[in-house]
C-alpha cells in the first residue's frame, strides 16, 4: 500500500509539518485507498471526497501562509454516521433517516473540524447503534478486513473497519455496550470508550442516553490519545457533560507499568470465551507482569448481571429516544389516513428488526406494572456494579479482561439468535453501566489468524493511567496491525 496510507497519525503529521507531504496529497492517497478497498469492505455509507479535498486545500493554503492549523491537521477520519454533520446526510444506518440532513453540527464534529481533521466519509453502523456485528445496517453489512466473510463487530463496524483497512488513520465511533471496543478487538485496532460525560453527546443521535459515549479508534494508542484530547472536554450544550478540562494523556503516556497494580477480573476469565481468546489474553496479561506490573486477581461479583441489566436499561431509554421518529418533522414518512396510522406505518417501515425488538422490550419494561420489576431493578443492579468497581479500584489501578468472548464470527452466524448476539458484550457492558473508561488493545491473533483484543479498564476520569498501561503493553508486544491471511483484504487490495 501507499506509504501515506500505511503511516500512523503521528507519522503523517510529521510529514505534513515538514512539508514532505501536503494535506491534499495525504487526503487523495486515502480517498484512493478507499476507492480500492471499500468495494470489499463496505465500511462507508458515503464518502465526502469534495469537501475533504476542499478542507485539505484550505489547510495547505494556511500552512503555506504560515498560519496556524489544528491539532489533527491533514489527518483523514472516518465518522460513524450517527453524529450530526450539518447539511450532510446522517443516516444512523437506518431507512428512517436515509435522506436526513441535520441543520446543525454535533459538538464533536465541530471540534474535529476546528482541529482540521479531514472527514472523508460517513461510516456504516448497526442501525441506531443497536448491534454487535454491523449486520443490522439497513443498507449493507460491513466486512472484517481480516476475513471478508466475517463481521467487523458493531455497532461501530464501519469506522473500525476503515481504520483497520488503512482507509483512514483515525475513526470516530460510539460505545453504549461495547460498540467501539468489541469491533476494535475483532478488527485488531485500538478502540476507546471514554468516561461517561467526558465527550459531548450534543449532536450524537441518541440510543441509550445514560450509556452512549463517543470514542476514538486508531491503529495505535498514541493516535487514539491524540484524537481523544481533541474531542474531550466540557460542553455547555450537554447537561451530562462533566465540567472538567481536557485530560492530559500524553505527559504520562510512555511512563510504563512498573509498580502499577493490574487486576484480572475473575468473573471475566471464566467460561464463555473461546480457547484462542483465552490463550492470547492470558499471554498478554503475563507480559504486563513481566513489565513490572503487579498482577492480581479481583472480583466484580455482580458483573455477570450486567447484560441483563443492560438489556433492560438500554432498550427502555431507546424506546423513548426513538419515539421522535414519526414521519412528522423529518425522515421517512409512510402516509396513513390518520396521524396515528401514519406514525405506526412509518415506524414499521423505517426501523429494522433489531430496532423494533429493542423498542418493544423497552416499552414493555417501562410500562405500567412492570417498571419496578424491570427498569428500576436494573438500575439497582447498576448501583451494585458501580460499587463493585469502586471496591476493586481500592486495590488496583487498572483492570483487565478479554474484550470479546470470541474472535470475529461469520456473517449471518448469529443473526437468528438475538440473545447470543447480546452476549458478545458480556465483558464490555459493565463499564458502560459504571460510566468508567475502557480501551481495547490488539494483543495478538488466534490460531485462525484472527485478532484478539485485551480490554483495559480504569476508574472514572482515569484515562491517563488507562492509556499509559495500554501504551506500555503495546510497545512491548509490537503487534503488526495490518490485516492479512486467508480471506483478508490483503488478498484483494494490497
Amino acid at each position: 500500500m501507499h506509504p501515506l496510507v500505511a503511516a500512523d497519525a503521528a507519522g503523517l503529521q510529521r510529514l505534513l509539518h515538514a512539508r514532505e507531504a501536503s494535506a491534499t496529497e495525504i487526503t487523495r492517497a486515502h480517498l484512493d485507498r478507499i476507492a480500492e478497498t471499500d468495494q470489499h469492505v463496505s465500511a462507508f455509507i458515503r464518502t465526502l471526497d469534495q469537501s475533504a479535498l476542499d478542507h485539505a486545500g484550505d489547510i495547505d493554503r494556511r500552512l503555506s501562509d504560515g498560519d496556524d492549523v489544528g491539532a489533527l491537521a491533514g489527518l483523514p477520519l472516518a465518522l460513524k454516521d450517527i453524529l450530526c454533520m450539518k447539511g450532510v446526510e446522517t443516516t444512523c444506518g437506518s431507512r428512517m433517516l436515509q435522506h436526513y440532513r441535520p441543520p446543525y453540527d454535533a459538538t464533536v464534529v465541530r471540534r474535529l473540524r476546528e482541529a482540521d481533521a479531514i472527514v472523508v466519509g460517513k461510516a456504516n453502523m448497526d442501525e441506531f447503534a443497536m448491534g454487535s456485528s454491523c449486520e443490522n445496517s439497513a443498507f449493507f453489512p460491513t466486512r472484517n478486513p481480516w476475513d471478508l466473510q466475517r463481521v467487523p463487530g458493531g455497532s461501530s463496524g464501519g469506522s473500525v473497519a476503515a481504520v483497520a483497512a488503512n482507509d483512514v488513520p483515525l475513526g470516530i465511533g460510539t460505545d453504549t455496550g461495547g460498540s467501539v471496543r468489541q469491533p476494535a478487538a475483532l478488527c485488531g485496532v485500538v478502540g476507546v470508550k471514554p468516561t461517561y460525560g467526558l465527550v459531548s453527546r450534543f449532536g450524537l443521535i441518541a440510543f441509550a442516553s445514560s450509556l452512549d459515549q463517543v470514542g476514538p479508534i486508531a491503529r495505535g494508542v498514541r493516535d487514539a490519545a491524540l484524537l481523544l484530547e481533541v474531542i474531550a472536554g466540557h460542553d455547555p450544550r450537554d447537561a451530562t457533560s462533566i465540567p472538567t478540562e481536557v485530560p492530559d494523556l500524553h505527559t504520562t503516556l510512555e511512563a510504563g507499568v512498573e509498580g502499577l497494580r493490574v487486576g484480572v477480573v475473575r468473573e471475566f476469565m471464566g467460561e464463555g470465551m473461546s480457547d484462542g481468546v483465552r490463550s492470547v489474553v492470558t499471554a498478554a496479561i503475563d507480559r504486563l507482569g513481566a513489565l513490572g506490573a503487579e498482577v492480581v486477581d479481583v472480583s466484580l461479583p455482580h458483573a455477570g448481571y450486567g447484560v441483563s441489566a443492560y438489556y433492560l436499561i438500554a432498550p427502555s431509554e431507546c424506546s423513548s429516544n426513538l419515539s421522535r421518529y414519526d414521519g412528522v418533522r423529518y425522515g421517512l414518512r409512510v402516509d396513513g389516513e390518520t396521524t396515528e396510522r401514519m406514525m405506526a406505518s412509518t415506524r414499521e417501515a423505517g426501523f429494522g428488526p433489531e430496532v423494533k425488538r429493542r423498542i418493544m422490550i423497552g416499552t414493555y419494561a417501562l410500562s405500567a406494572g412492570y417498571y419496578d420489576a424491570y427498569y428500576a431493578q436494573a438500575q439497582r443492579v447498576r448501583t451494585l456494579i458501580i460499587r463493585d468497581y469502586e471496591a476493586a479500584y481500592a486495590d488496583c489501578d487498572v483492570l483487565v479482561s478479554p474484550t470479546s468472548p470470541t474472535t470475529a464470527f461469520k456473517l449471518g452466524e448469529r443473526a437468528a439468535d438475538p440473545l447470543a448476539m447480546y452476549l458478545s458484550d458480556v465483558y464490555t457492558i459493565p463499564s458502560n453501566l459504571a460510566g468508567a473508561p475502557a480501551l481495547s488493545l490488539p494483543v495478538g491473533l488466534d490460531d485462525g489468524g484472527l485478532p484478539v483484543g485485551l480490554q483495559l479498564m480504569a476508574p472514572v476520569l482515569g484515562e491517563p493511567v488507562l492509556f499509559r498501561a495500554a501504551r506500555a503493553l503495546e510497545r512491548e508486544l509490537a503487534i503488526d496491525s495490518t490485516p492479512r491471511g486467508r480471506g483478508s483484504l490483503a488478498e484483494v487490495a494490497a
Partner: protein, 508 residues
C-alpha cells in the same frame, strides 16, 4: 334542546324536579390543575426567544424541534420562578428534584415525550387562603412542578375544530415554553370556591411577576376534576376531568353544569363515567372528548439527559427573603393596620392600585379616604382611558394631598373630582391645580354670608317654603348660592348659614 348562545341550558331534569332535595344529597368535590406559562425570555430547555405573533416555526431550534441528537438544558430562571411560586404557596422546596419523561405520541409533541416532573417535583405541599361568601377557606396545594409546553395544531376542515378536520398543521413556536403546573388538593366544594381559588392563584402569580396569567390567551390554563359523593361520606366518587374553560366565568359555569349533570346521573341510578370532558362555551355544556377512550400509560422514567435539581438552601433563603408581599398578606395588613373592611381591602388589592394606596397612606392620607378614591374614581378613570392601573399618572403623595383638601374643607367632593381629573390629565399637583383654577372652596363665613343673604332675597318663595317647614325647598337656595360662587362654596357651610338665616326670622 336549543339554548341561546351564552345562556346556560336548564339543569338536567332530575335535579330540576327534585330541586333542593337532590342537590343536597351530594357534595361536590373539586380539584384544579392550573398551568402557568412563564414569562422567561427563553424556553424551558433551549435558548429560543419567546415572543408571540409572527410566522410559524420561526422560534425553533434543533432542541425544541426534537431533532436527532439534540439535548435539553434547564433554564435557570424557570427554576427560580418555580421556587418563588412554591414559596408563595407555602410549599416545601424539594432538596432534590428530577425531570422525568412523560411518553406518549401526539403530533404537537416534538419528541413524543414531554419533559415534566413525576414523583420528585420541585415543590410539595402548600396551601392557599381563599375568600368565599362563607368566609375564608384553606385549600391545599398538592404540588408545583416544571414542564415544557407543546406546539400548536391548526385543524383544517370545515369547522376548524379537531373533529371533522381533514388534516392538521403544526407550529412548534410554543413547544418548549416553560410551564408550572399547580395541582390543588380536592378541597373545593363549589364553583364559587373554584373561581375564588383561581383568582387568588392568579393574583399571586401576577404579584410575583412570573407570568401575565391571561386565561383568555392561554398563559394560564385551568382544568377541573369534578366528582360527587353523598354528603357525609369520605370516599371520593368517580371523577371527571373538565377542560377548555378560558375564563373565570367559564370555570364557574362549567363546574355548575358538570355538578348538575353528575347529580342527575347519580340520582337516577346511573354511574358517572370516568372520562375527560370538553366545556363548550356556546352550548354551555360539557361533552365527551370523542378521541378514543384510552388509558394513557406514560411510562415515566427519569430523564437521563437531565441531572437533578438541588437548589441550595442559601438560594432558597434569599428568594424567600425577597418574596414580594403576597395578596393575602396585603389584604390582612389593610384590614388589621388600616381598618379597611375586607371587601375594600380585596377590591384595592385586585384593582392594581394597592401600591398607590400604600404611598398615599405613607404621605399622610387617611386610609379609608385613599381607599375610597382609588377604588372608585381612580379605577373608573383607568377603565375609561384604557390605562393599566400600574401606569396610572397619579402619585400617592398627590392623592394624599387631594384627600386632605377634602377633609380640611378646601374642596368639596365635587370639586375634588374635578381636580383629580386635572391631575390625571397632567396639569400638576392638586395644590397647583386648585391655585391655577382658583378652585379653593369658599369657607369664609362672612363672604358666604353675604351671598346667602342675596340668594334668600332673590328667591323669596323658596325661602318662605323653608320657613313654613318644607325642608326640601332649601335645595333651590343652595343651588343659587353654588351658582353665584361657581360651585366653590362649601356646601356644608352654605346649608348651615341658610338654616340659620331662615329660621331666625328677622335676624340678618
Amino acid at each position: 334542546m336549543s339554548a341561546a348562545p351564552g345562556a346556560s341550558p336548564p339543569p338536567p331534569t332530575a335535579a330540576r324536579d327534585s330541586g333542593v332535595e337532590q342537590a343536597s344529597r351530594f357534595e361536590a368535590v373539586i380539584g384544579l390543575e392550573v398551568h402557568v406559562e412563564l414569562n422567561t425570555a427563553t424556553k424551558m430547555f433551549c435558548g429560543c426567544a419567546i415572543d408571540f405573533g409572527g410566522a410559524p416555526n420561526v422560534r425553533t431550534c434543533p432542541v425544541c424541534l426534537g431533532q436527532p441528537g439534540s439535548l435539553p438544558m434547564i433554564n435557570a430562571k424557570a427554576v427560580e420562578s418555580a421556587i418563588r411560586l412554591g414559596l408563595a404557596l407555602g410549599c416545601d422546596i424539594a432538596p432534590s428534584s428530577q425531570f422525568h419523561r412523560k411518553n406518549y405520541f401526539y403530533p404537537d409533541m416534538p419528541k413524543n415525550y414531554q419533559i415534566s416532573q413525576y414523583d420528585v417535583p420541585i415543590c410539595l405541599g402548600g396551601e392557599l387562603q381563599v375568600a368565599t361568601a362563607e368566609g375564608f377557606r384553606h385549600v391545599g396545594i398538592t404540588r408545583v412542578h416544571m414542564e415544557e409546553d407543546t406546539g400548536k395544531s391548526l385543524h383544517v376542515g370545515t369547522s376548524g375544530r379537531i373533529h371533522g378536520a381533514e388534516y392538521s398543521l403544526v407550529d412548534y413556536n410554543r413547544a418548549g415554553i416553560p410551564l408550572l403546573e399547580v395541582v390543588s388538593e380536592p378541597d373545593l366544594r363549589s364553583a364559587e370556591q373554584a373561581r375564588a381559588y383561581l383568582a387568588e392563584l392568579r393574583a399571586i402569580v401576577l404579584a410575583l411577576g412570573i407570568s401575565d396569567a391571561k386565561l383568555e390567551e392561554g398563559s394560564m390554563r385551568c382544568d377541573a376534576n369534578v366528582s360527587l359523593r353523598p354528603v357525609g361520606h369520605s370516599v371520593f366518587g368517580t371523577r371527571v376531568e373538565v377542560k377548555n374553560m378560558n375564563s373565570l366565568r367559564s370555570l364557574g359555569r362549567a363546574i355548575d353544569y358538570e355538578v348538575a349533570r353528575q347529580t342527575d346521573r347519580l340520582s337516577s341510578g346511573q354511574p358517572v363515567v370516568q372520562e375527560t370532558r370538553h366545556w363548550n362555551e356556546d352550548s354551555g355544556t360539557t361533552s365527551t372528548l370523542r378521541a378514543k377512550e384510552e388509558v394513557f400509560d406514560y411510562r415515566y422514567f427519569s430523564d437521563p439527559d437531565l441531572v437533578p435539581v438541588e437548589p441550595d438552601s442559601d438560594w432558597v433563603q434569599r428568594l424567600r427573603a425577597e418574596l414580594v408581599e403576597l395578596p393575602a398578606a396585603r389584604r390582612n395588613r389593610y384590614t388589621a393596620e388600616h381598618g379597611l373592611s375586607p371587601g375594600t381591602a380585596a377590591l384595592l388589592q385586585t384593582s392594581g392600585l394597592a401600591d398607590r394606596f400604600d404611598e398615599a397612606v405613607a404621605a399622610g392620607a387617611v386610609p379609608a379616604d385613599a381607599a375610597k378614591w382609588l377604588t372608585n374614581e381612580v379605577a373608573a378613570w383607568c377603565n375609561e382611558h384604557l390605562i393599566d392601573s400600574a401606569g396610572v399618572p397619579l402619585s400617592g403623595a398627590h392623592l394624599a394631598e387631594l384627600t386632605r383638601f377634602v377633609s380640611d374643607g378646601t374642596l368639596s367632593t365635587k370639586l375634588a373630582r374635578e381636580v383629580l381629573e386635572a391631575v390625571l390629565a397632567g396639569e400638576g399637583s392638586p395644590g397647583e391645580v386648585v391655585a391655577a383654577r382658583g378652585l379653593a372652596q369658599i369657607s369664609d363665613t362672612q363672604a358666604l354670608g353675604a351671598i346667602v343673604d342675596t340668594a334668600i332675597a332673590q328667591n323669596p318663595d323658596a325661602a318662605q317654603r323653608v320657613r313654613d317647614g318644607n325642608a326640601k325647598a332649601i335645595g333651590a337656595l343652595v343651588g343659587a348660592v353654588m351658582r353665584a360662587t361657581k360651585g366653590q362654596a362649601n356646601p356644608g357651610l352654605v346649608n348651615q348659614l341658610l338654616q340659620a338665616r331662615l329660621h331666625q326670622a328677622g335676624e340678618r
